[in-house]
Every structure is written in C-alpha cells, then in structure tokens.
C-alpha cells in the first residue's frame, strides 16, 4: 500500500447515492486528489495531452464505476475560443460558461485529469445569483456572466434556468457550502464513528487541527455506541453541518494557494499532468482497489466529513484499522504533554543507527518525506520538530539543509521525515493552507529534490596535456592531488589562481547584493502587508 513516491494521493469524500443500470455506480460529492479537496460544482483546471494551456471546467458529477473514477465537466470557454461567434469587448479575466445542448457543453473525463482548483465567480446580475463581494472579485482567478450556447453558437447574458440538466441556483455561486452538504448528510447517516466524533466535540472547532483530536475520540468508541446514532439523528445532523462548515473553510484555502502556485510555475505544472493521465491509466486498477481501505484509514485521522459508509459492510476490518490509527494518533497526542517523552522518542530512533542519508532515501520511497521552505534560517532541527509538533500535532525528524555558499539565507529549507505517508500528506496540505511562523508563510512539498551526482573533478582544475610523462611521473602526479601549497608569484599558476580569486570575489559580491535585495524586499513586503491590514481594520 505504501507505493513509490510517484503515486498521487487520492481519497473519496462524501457519498451521494448509487445508480447505473446494474446499481454498480457510486456517486460522490467530493474527493481529495494530491492533497487538494474538490467538491461538486467546483471549478477546476484540466490538461489535455498535447495542449500546453489548461482548460477550465465545472465539476457537475463525480462517480466511480467498475474501478474507474470519472468526472463530468461543464466547460468554460476562453474569449479566443469563441472569437468568431461574437464581436465586442471582453472584460478582464472573463470567461464564458457553456449552456444549451450539444457537443462542447460537457464531457466525461477520468478523475485524474483534474489538475487544480480554479476560483471562478459568476458576476451575472440575475436575481437568482448571489452577488460576490469586492474582495471575492479581487481574489477570483476568472469571472463570467455570459453564456455560450453550444447548439446555436450564440453568446447571451441571460441566465438560463438549467444548464446540463441542473438548476442554476445549485450550480452557480452557492450561498453557503451547507446547501450542498445538507441533502447528503441525511442519506449517509449510518456512520457511527464520524457522528460520534462530532457529538463529542460540540464546542466550535476553530481549526482543522483540532479535528484530528476529535476523530481520535471518535475512533476510540466505534462499535458499542453505534446504536445511539440512530436514536439521535436529528441531533447529529446539525452538528455535522456545523462541523462540515468549519472544516470547509480551512480546506478551501488549500486550493487557493494551489491555484496561485499553478499560475506561477505553469511549466512545471504542465509537465506533471502530461504524465499523470498516462500514469494513471496503468495505476487505476492498483489505485482503486486500495481506496476502500485507505479511505477508511486516511479519513479517520484526516477528515471528519468523509462519512465512512463502509461501516456497515466490514466492521471487523475497520475496527482493526481504526485501532491502528488510534495507536498512531494517540501517541502523537500524548507527546504534547510531558516534556520527557520527546527525548525518549529520539533515543529510540538512535537504536538503529541508520545514517541520515539512508533514512532520507527510505522515507522518500515510502512517501514520508516532506520538504519545507521559507523557514527562519536560525532554526535548528529541534526547533523545527517542536514547531511541527505544536502546529500540526505530528511528530517528525527534521534537519535543516541549506547550503552555506549558495542558498539564499532568507529562505531556510529543511527535510522532515514523518511517521507515515498519511502524516506526510496531511502535513503538506496543512502547511500549504496557511501556516505562518514568525511572520513567514511556509510552503512545502513532498519528496526528495533531484541533485546531480558530483562529477568527481572540480571545474578549474586544469591538466597539462600532450606531454609524454613517464610511469614515475604519473605516480607522482597521482600523489599530487593530495598535496597543497600556497602559490608563489613567480609561476604561471599564480596568475591563473589570481583570476580565480577575482572571479570568486565578484561572485560573492553578486550573491551579497542579491540576498540583501531579497531581504529588503521581504521586509518591505511585510511592513506593507501589515500597514494595509491596519488600514483595513
């Protein structure tokens, strides 16, 4: 189950209903792909083989049938795609939603083609649409208020009643995320552990972090209390809604930063999805058989809202898995309190005396390695571990890895090895969703950085060619590598060496200037940011 580090993280979210001719199709309301949560009616980027630029679409259906995960996407058009059908001005960031019937309205794609969330707002002045606030508008990636009828190839700003068979009030700008979660909460009631967890944590939860703790409490009592759930469904639902709402907010931050990142490194993003659809074709049979089990384990510590309907089907298995999860999470929780425990943990790891490099490689193979950036460079390993424990309630082994000559001292980097792949995934999504340490927003990713092997010789070590050297001289030359001397001014070598020293000085100067500029930029930014916050308040 712990595959190679190239496997992309995936788990199902809320279930909806079953369907299909043979009742073999399971519909869903949300899923998590590569640590980003997608829900129905979210706008996403999709890449097609051969196209460098992504398409934007709205997810209108999510399902799995015969081990294949699919999404139905309602397309948006870019202005240049429909240029010939209309003349006139186009607003900044404007795109057009497909409507009507016919080719080009919507397509079914494999779920793995989704490449990130996109913030698209509907600015139509129709009364059925909730009007977005100015802040939302400023933060949106794209806006739309016009619709392109794919059958008649015409553009209109009249809001149709239904698009792709769905009411537009559901499809566009939902007032609250609760509107979507409501109907499904009723359907998927019988999942004892989750609702127990919700009942156990009535006080409003402010951050997703706390939900880890709540699900621990939940897991501890799965079976005995299951009966009570059916008795108190009304009480459970409102709680599930409120928790879902709380949960939604931090989770939605992930996709925002993801989409911002996607804009920045378009190239690197374009590279990944090329391989993804191809890779995923093969991995599908592999990836979809573990989901039932992995969803059970992952959803327990991660998302209380992934209502685990497997409860009814396989209780013994889930109990065993949840016990494992309990052990893991309780040990994490327990570490926070007494101060002696952390050192005990550290000593235990030294028993095996594996070198750090080997640990890195093993961890990367198992998907437990996380690369964190933008730390303060003065943090030591213990500081980072402490911060991770405090902020994420996860324990890890950390090590700062900045290179003293080349790395920017404004941006501290470290590798963290977590205890499990899930912990690493969780850490990445949480850090990226908005962890700020000492005024510095952190960002992280999984996996080892690719560093080329050293070539074995140093650039600048010259050799004298085309002299005939005797055997004895050759041996002396070999020994010469291990000698050293101060160059004297009466040799050719001296001039050459001075050239190098000049170059070094210049390089150091350049680095100094660049790093100082970076530091000044950052300080300027931080003060500007805080000024605008104060002005806003």
């Amino acid at each position: 189950m712990n595959g190679n580090s190239e496997e992309i993280q995936f788990s199902w979210g809320k279930r909806r209903g079953k369907g299909g001719a043979k009742m073999d199709t399971q519909f869903y309301e949300s899923f998590t792909l590569d640590n980003v949560q997608y829900s129905l009616y979210d706008c996403v980027y999709l890449f097609k083989h051969g196209d460098p630029e992504p398409y934007i679409g709205k997810i209108v259906k999510i399902w799995e049938q015969n081990q294949a995960k699919k999404v139905k996407i309602l397309w948006f058009f870019f202005p240049d795609e429909i240029q010939r059908y209309f003349s006139g001005t186009v607003m900044e960031k404007e795109i057009f939603l497909a409507s009507g019937d016919g080719i080009g309205l919507a397509d079914i794609n494999p779920l793995e083609a989704v490449a990130g969330k996109c913030n698209v707002l509907c600015t139509s002045k129709d009364e059925r649409i909730r009007q977005p606030s100015p802040q939302e508008l400023a933060m949106a990636d794209y806006i739309f208020y016009r619709f392109f009828d794919v059958k008649h190839c015409t553009l209109s700003d009249q809001l149709p009643d239904k698009i792709v068979g769905l009411e537009v009030t559901i499809l566009l700008n939902p007032k609250d995320e609760q509107v979507i979660s409501n109907p499904s909460a009723v359907n998927v009631l019988p999942s004892p552990n989750v609702n127990e967890g919700l009942a156990a944590t009535v006080p409003p939860l402010r951050s997703a972090v706390k939900e880890v703790g709540s699900s621990v409490a939940a897991v501890a009592l799965p079976q005995p209390v299951s009966k009570e759930v059916d008795v108190n469904p009304p009480a459970a639902i409102p709680l599930s809604q409120s928790v879902v709402k709380e949960d939604q907010k931090p989770v939605t931050t992930i996709p925002f930063s993801q989409s911002v990142v996607k804009k920045e490194d378009k190239k690197s993003v374009a590279a990944i999805p090329y391989s993804r659809p191809a890779v995923k074709e093969e991995e599908k049979p592999v990836a979809s058989t573990p989901p039932p089990r992995s969803a059970a384990v992952e959803s327990v510590p991660k998302n209380t809202e992934s209502q685990n309907a497997h409860a009814g089907e396989r209780p013994p298995k889930r109990l065993k898995l949840s016990q494992e999860a309990t052990v893991n999470t309780t040990s994490d929780v327990a570490e926070i309190r007494p101060l002696e425990l952390p050192s005990l943990q550290a000593d235990r790891s030294k028993w095996f005396n594996i070198s750090w490099d080997e640990k890195l490689q093993i961890a990367d193979d198992q998907g437990r390695l996380v690369y964190i950036q933008n730390l303060d460079i003065r943090f030591a390993a213990a500081d980072i571990e402490e911060l991770v424990r405090g902020a994420l309630q996860l324990s890890c082994t950390a090590r700062p890895i900045n290179h003293p000559t080349y790395d920017d001292p404004n941006n501290g980097k470290a590798y963290c090895i977590f205890k499990s792949k899930n912990a690493a995934d969780l850490a990445v999504s949480k850090i990226n969703s908005g962890l700020v340490i000492g005024g510095r927003p952190l960002y992280s990713s999984k996996g080892l950085l690719k560093v080329p092997k050293s070539s074995g010789t140093l650039v600048g070590h010259l050799s004298v060619h085309n002299i005939k050297i005797t055997q004895k001289q050759r041996e002396e030359q070999k020994k010469a590598v291990s000698t050293s001397h101060c160059s004297q001014p009466n040799t050719i070598e001296y001039d050459l060496a001075l050239d190098w020293m000049l170059l070094q000085e210049k390089q150091e100067q350049k680095f100094r200037i660049l790093h100082k500029k970076h530091k000044d930029d950052r300080q300027g930014f931080a003060s500007m940011g805080s000024k605008s916050v104060k002005a806003g308040k």
Binding site: K249, T253, V260, E264, D265, L339, N374, R378, F379, A381, A382, D383, L387, G390, A391, P400, I401, N402, H403, P404, T405, Y406, D408, N410, N411, K413, G434, L435, V436, G438, P441, V451, P452, S454, T457, L458, V459, H461, L462, I467, S482, T483, S484, H485, C486, S487, I492, Y494, L496, A497, D499, L503, Q504, L514, H515, H518, F525, G529, S532, V533
Partner: protein, 199 residues
Amino acid sequence: METSKASKDYADFLDKVKRTIYLDQLSPQVTTQVIKAALAQCANVVNVEFIVNYTIPYDIPSAALVELEDEMQAKAVVELTTDFPFIIGGMPRPVKATHAKAEMFPDRPPCPGIKKDFRWIKLGDDEFDSMNKQKILAKRQESENMALIKMQLEEEKELAKQQQEALDANCKKYDMLEVVVQNGGLRNLAHCYGVNLDD
C-alpha cells in the same frame, strides 16, 4: 533547568563555531586527510564535516566545516587564504576559507530565545492575501537565486576553459621552443642574425 542547559549547550556550540572555518571550492576528490595535511602548516584540525548538497540542482564544488584547535588558528587560516591563493589538490583554482557561522551547521543545537510562534491563516482573514503574496515572493526569490547560481557556474566553466586553452597554447609554445633548441635550429638562427646566444 531546561533552558539553562540549552543556553550552556548553545554557548559551547558558539565557541565551536568561532574555532571552525568554512572551506569552499574544494575538489570532490579532497578527503579529510588531505585537508588535515594541507592545513597542518598553520593549524591543527580537530574535525572535518563535509557539507552534503541537498538543494542545489547543479554540479557544485565540495565544501566542508573544519574545526580547528582554537580561534587564533582559525583566523590564521582565513588570513592565509585571503592573502595568497591557497591551493589544495590540483591547480590552479584556490580554495576559499571563511569563518563559520552558526546556521551553517546542520546539527546545531537550538538557539534559546528564538521566537517560535505560529499562526494559521485562512481564506477570508485580512492577512491571507498578503501572506500568499509573500509566498509568491519567496518562490520568485528562490528562482532568482538559482538563476544566479547557474550563471556563476557557467562563468566558472568559461574561465576554466579559457585558462585551459591558454595553458595548452603555452605548453605548445614551450614544447616548440624546446624542440628548436634541441635540434640546433636555434643556433642556426642565432648565427643568421648575428645574435650571441650566451648573453
């Protein structure tokens, strides 16, 4: 108790830092022995720790943190390398030595008194926008840094190539001279021009 031990550890560490020099531009073939022998003329080496490259995706020279016996020796080495080109193993690229800094040590003890406050920022908070912009800024600075590194490595390659060519040309010149001297061609020329060779 905890903090006083931590302070003491850190104070000891700082002492070590003062005694340590950071040796850069080393050939990957250089070993601990080589460094010890090289510095033996002015300093006793206590410990050598090579820096592993985890972050730079290019072929960069080796570097090491060399712990010496005391601060005076550290100063001496740094002065030596700045005044004269000090060459270790192979020529003519000299090594660079500077005083080490605390953040160079990956195994450093935690500095007591560093603020370790963390906050969560979500979509909708006032600072969310500004934090995201800072993230973008950090990433851009990273790529600027990498671009600079790449450029510098190319400059180094250029210089090396240039020097190699000059060296080869010089070698050829000397070879030629040697041949001419040996086969008497020089004597003939001298005779032609009436130049006395023994001057």
